[in-house]
């Protein structure tokens, strides 16, 4: 699947070292990675493995200190300026002084779309995340799951082909999370976007992804890449099938191999 | 260390230097008309440098130059006997004593009221709204009346000024302490409840320690307010002694340099007071095992 489609993200020998008060910290070392169009790639690993940092480098929220990376064939900075991706954070990060539709309108205002276009896109994206009817509500009037859906709608609003998601469902309870996972898969199928998804849940990674990138800390690096053999059509109960469990076991092995528990 | 030098000391110093420079420029500009007038009367036509020198050396300038204020401040602080009524140390002491007395009264009163409000529902519902409302009122306006009325019944000197300071300083302490005594989280209160702790135990073991940071924060505000109260309290007393009296006397005789150095003295006292309260707060915090920030 990887080889045929054009690369959306491609990194080689990518490294990032933070200077902290306790000396340099190697957040990323020697990351080689190519993500093709339409893929759903999960990044999984324990805290401190650099999975969020990698996503932030792709989004030009951090600058790499070595190696190279391109997004849609450009530098991340150019890609950001072209608004090549939508980003979903760990928390919904909706502005409390804006209603849901105005929150979704925020990126559209910034890129300067016409009012009519804004209205059309707000309607479409809110439909996409099943939030029609909540346009006039304020974020604090919605549940956590609905807030996160609104933030996904906001990320989808300007129709970028790449969606970067940083543990978007981490703060939600498991029942809501299952529901949103299913909705996210449906959305991915319908829109054919490329999704980079950071998580620390093995079942979530296996359930969602076409490819799972296992990372390990100190220094942050990619320790394994696992291609999923699951079909594109994935009902929730696929998680009890032997195939699913086998992939999950491989991910767990990868995590163990890359992570020493002595420290 | 180096970071704080680069991030704080250099910017602060350069802005202070900038202020001094701007001050000099304004001193020259503001004092020019009067100097021109003087020169015209004396039929002198000084050169530019000499003229600027003169604008910065007037005895009663519109805006005294920083060095004039510094010299005056230095003379009146260090060179004069501390018992002299012109000594800034003496005047600052007069103001400071009523500030401290009022601050002590105010803080005590504020804490007592806060404890009452937290423990008596009736007080909470009836008194608290008035305390909050009273913060919106220009209380300082009553200062002259308190002084004069108390003088009419024979109370003069320290007490009336201290009363104004009390009045100004108890509000922030009361409001801050109510907030502080209520700051323990529900879980902590529930924990005390599971121990079947008495109200007094909950108060001493939970509410009081939780309120300490709030107390010192509001005490910093209170001590500054207390000083303002003492200074304003000195205005209507006929200018006997104190920083407020120096301000008024300076205004009366147009001794601008005196006004400025009295202002500097007041600022020094304020900074010292706030610093002392801050240090006391930090010491208490450390004694209570607070994390070093």
């Amino acid at each position: 699947m990887t080889g045929q489609s054009p690369a959306v993200v491609s990194a080689s020998k990518l490294g990032l070292t933070f200077q902290t008060n306790d000396g340099p910290v190697q957040a990323l070392t020697d990351v080689d990675l190519t993500i093709g169009k339409g893929e759903f790639v999960s990044f999984i690993g324990p805290s401190g493995c650099g999975k969020t940092t990698l996503l932030r480098v792709i989004a030009d929220l951090e600058k790499p200190t070595s190696g190279s990376i391109s997004v849609n064939g450009m530098t991340p900075e150019q890609a950001r300026e072209k608004r090549a991706y939508g980003y979903v954070f760990q928390a919904a990060a909706l502005f409390p002084w804006r209603s849901i539709e105005r929150n979704v309108a925020l990126p559209l205002e910034i890129i300067g779309l016409s009012k009519a276009e804004q209205v059309e896109r707000i309607k479409r994206t809110l439909d996409l995340v099943n939030l029609s009817g909540f346009e006039k509500k304020y974020p604090w009037q919605l549940s956590g799951g609905m807030q996160q859906r609104a933030s996904i709608a906001r990320a989808l609003a300007f129709d970028a082909d790449l969606l970067l998601m940083d543990e978007p469902f981490g703060a939600l309870d498991e029942i809501v999370r299952d529901h949103l996972n299913k909705q996210l898969l449906e959305l991915w199928e319908r829109t054919n976007k490329t999704i980079c998804f950071v998580t620390h849940s093995i079942p979530e990674a296996v359930y969602l992804s076409t490819r799972i990138v296992v990372m390990s800390p100190r220094p942050g690096r990619v320790s394994d890449v696992i291609e999923s053999t699951l079909p594109k059509e994935r009902p929730l109960h696929i998680r009890e099938t032997p195939e699913f469990l086998a992939i999950a076991a491989r991910v767990r092995d990868g995590l163990h191999a890359g992570h020493s528990y002595e420290d | 260390m180096i970071d704080s030098f680069r991030d704080k000391i250099i910017p602060v110093t350069s802005i202070l230097v900038g202020i001094v420079v701007v001050w000099y420029v304004f001193a020259v500009i503001l004092n020019t008309p009067f100097q021109r007038d003087l020169d015209r009367r004396a039929n002198e036509t000084p050169g530019v440098v000499e003229f600027i020198g003169k604008t910065l050396a007037q005895p009663k300038p519109t805006l005294p130059a920083p060095h004039q204020v510094a010299v005056n401040f230095f003379e009146n602080t260090f060179l004069r006997s501390v018992t002299s009524s012109r000594s800034l140390v003496y005047n600052a002491w007069v103001t400071l004593s009523s500030t401290l007395l009022g601050f002590a009264f105010g803080t005590t009163l504020g804490i007592v009221i806060a404890v009452g409000i937290v423990h008596v529902a009736t007080l909470d519902r009836s008194l608290m709204p008035w305390i909050i409302a009273s913060q919106t009122i220009p209380i300082l306006a009553v200062a002259p009346m308190i002084i004069v009325v108390l003088a009419a019944i024979g109370i003069t000197g320290l007490i009336p000024k201290a009363l104004i300071s009390t009045y100004l300083s108890f509000f922030p302490v009361a409001v801050g302490m109510v907030k502080g005594l209520r700051s323990p989280e529900i879980t902590h209160l529930d924990l005390m409840h599971t121990y079947n702790a008495s109200r007094a135990q909950t108060f001493w073991k939970l509410r009081v320690p939780a309120s300490v940071p709030f107390l010192f924060t509001s005490m910093k505000v209170a001590v500054a307010a207390s000083l303002v109260g003492a200074i304003v309290g000195e205005l209507p007393t006929g200018a006997v002694a104190g920083i407020g009296a120096k301000l008024l006397a300076g205004a009366y005789y147009s001794q601008t340099i005196d006004i400025w150095s009295a202002l500097v003295a007041g600022s020094v006292v304020a900074a010292l007071l706030v610093m002392v309260v801050g240090i006391a707060g930090r010491l208490v915090d450390r004694a209570m095992g607070g994390r070093p920030a």
């Binding site: 954070f89 002084w97 | 350069s14 529902a121 409302a133």
Partner: protein, 384 residues
Amino acid sequence: MNWLKPSWQAVLAILLCLIAIALGAMTKPEATALADPTGSFTYPYLGTKALTFGLAMLAALVSMVRIPPITEAVVLFVGAHLVAWLLITGINGFEGTALAPYFLLLAAGWLLGWRCVAVLSSLRPLAKWARTGLRLIIPAIFGAWILIIWEAVTRGAGIPFILLPPPSAIGARIANSLPVLGADVRQTIFKAVIFGYVVGNAAGFVAAILADRVPFLRRGLLPIGNMVSALPIIGVAPIMVMWFGFDWQSKAAVVIIMTFFPMLVNTVAGLAASGHMERDLMRTYASGYWQTLFKLRLPAAAPFIFNALKINSTLALIGAIVAEFFGTPVVGMGFRISTEVGRMNIDMVWAEIAVAALAGSVFYGVVALFERAVTFWHPSVRGG
């Protein structure tokens, strides 16, 4: 004794009434009349004494019967305030002649009032309007009793007018001096305060934006601004009066200086208040400085800015009034206070203070209303 629920306030009130009855005469004229039964004197409470005592004790007794709290509160409210009204109207014309029973009865009335507030405080009505009503009524009763005690004590004990005039005299003075008070308000508030407040806040705000754009400036200005907020800035008043003359301009200058720093410090703090995630979000949109400022950072800073506006509303009034102590044309609130104090017209001073208090509350209230409208989304507002 199931039908009885004693309260210490009511018991104490009855006790005070009994002591007062035992002591006899309420006022000196009454004592003279009692000492000389043959003479015909008029004295206060000729016909109302029994009624007053009866009312106080009846209200106290009824309040201890097991009746619904609402009824109890109403009984106490009516009883306490009728007693107070009878006491205050009765002393009319006989000021300064009150004896111990008068004050005991006043104390009994106050205890009933307290009991009334205590009963009301323990109510937890479900309806929202009832809760709001209670939130207003309880402090109102408290405030009313401060005025009642003030009035009754000053008149009963005959406290000299120049020490502490009764509220009724202050009220009468306000009513009689409306033109003068109006002129003072116009001079001090509508000229000095409003102008200084607007300019000072605007300058502080602009300086904060500048400091935000130039980090060097921010690092230097912020510690200075924090320190200045503790200084007795009011002391610049005499200098401003020398520079800008006696009229309102010098007062406005004091107000500008006093309001500048709180606005600067709060706005800078507010601009730093938006979350990292939100700022990253704006970055992913490749949003410019001004777009981020207007769409994210200023709305997030609004609670801080309003905090400064509220602090400054009080500071502005204080600054203008105190600056007038250093010299004004013959109009203005600070001028009026300082000259009427000199003339011992204390009631006029109180009238001016009452007007200042009212103006301060209204000013603050207007700012607070704006705040509620603008920062409706903030937890402190939407939490009620």
